[in-house]
């Protein structure tokens, strides 16, 4: 593999590590953007330039920005960072982390079973992707459309500020 891959992979892992260890949500988000960009590089090197572009535009661009604006809207500042610090005690995270590392170990073990001779990556044209998308996967595309539509409607419905309207299962809370 290219050294570029290793560099990108290292950046992705490191920045993701940073994401999950930050107390401040804003920092975490920004590290996540870095991580996503690094992944975009990796995608490019795996012969999927179109996907890399989408990653940058949709993920790092749209979704992350949406999150950032959301956080800004909630105006979470030092307090929440402090609270986050209080929550993240070793006692809390050691056991889940160990468990996840076991899981990782198993994944790695399984992945390393691949004994095929080293070969180059195969580049798949965006054209092929498009053909597949609107060929065999046309129904899935339709469904995705409906999903996005539902997302929009849902977001609109849930995001509305309704005074005094408690959700059904949140009624009678001791707020």
């Amino acid at each position: 593999m290219d050294p570029a891959f290793y560099i990108a992979a290292a950046i992705a892992i490191l920045s993701t590590l940073m994401v999950i260890t930050r107390y401040n949500i804003m920092h975490a988000l920004l590290y996540l953007v870095v991580s996503l960009l690094a992944v975009a590089v990796v995608l490019y090197m795996y012969g999927a330039p179109f996907m890399a572009a989408l990653e940058v535009i949709v993920y790092a661009g749209a979704i992350m920005v949406l999150l950032i604006f959301f956080v800004m809207m909630l105006n979470l500042g030092k307090e929440s960072a402090e609270r986050e610090r209080g929550w993240l005690k070793p006692r809390i995270w050691i056991f889940p982390s160990l468990l996840c590392i076991i899981l990782l170990g198993e994944l790695v073990f399984l992945v390393l079973q691949n004994r095929q001779p080293v070969s180059d990556v195969i580049i798949v044209n965006p054209k092929d992707v498009g053909m597949a998308l609107f060929g065999p996967y046309i129904i899935a595309v339709e469904l995705t459309g409906i999903l996005l539509m539902a997302g929009i409607v849902g977001a609109y419905h849930l995001g509305r500020q309704k005074q005094k309207t408690l959700h059904r299962f949140l009624e009678n809370t001791e707020v």
């Binding site: 999950i20 975490a28 982390s97 095929q116 995001g159 809370t173």
Partner: protein, 102 residues
Amino acid sequence: MNVHPTTAGMLLAGVLFVLGLISILVRRDIIFMLLSVEIMLNAAGLAFVVASSHWGTADGQVMFMFILAMAAAEVSVGLALILQLYHQLKTLDSDEASKMNG
């Protein structure tokens, strides 16, 4: 270094996924949890693309696109839900929203 590209890509995806998993397990802040889900989705997408390049077919990339679309929808609905939750509970602590216990 003679590492099979698929192996390397899969390892990277695995590591990213597990990092996301750790985060979602240890965080109480609901926005962090959403973030972690994004990490994991992204890792899964990466795995698909690696597989796509391994077999030389377009299916994996198609899947990546679907994941992307789903992530977008999820984030939009998720954020709206968080907003509601924040208004109701005045906190982003996911443990507070534990009324549906047995």
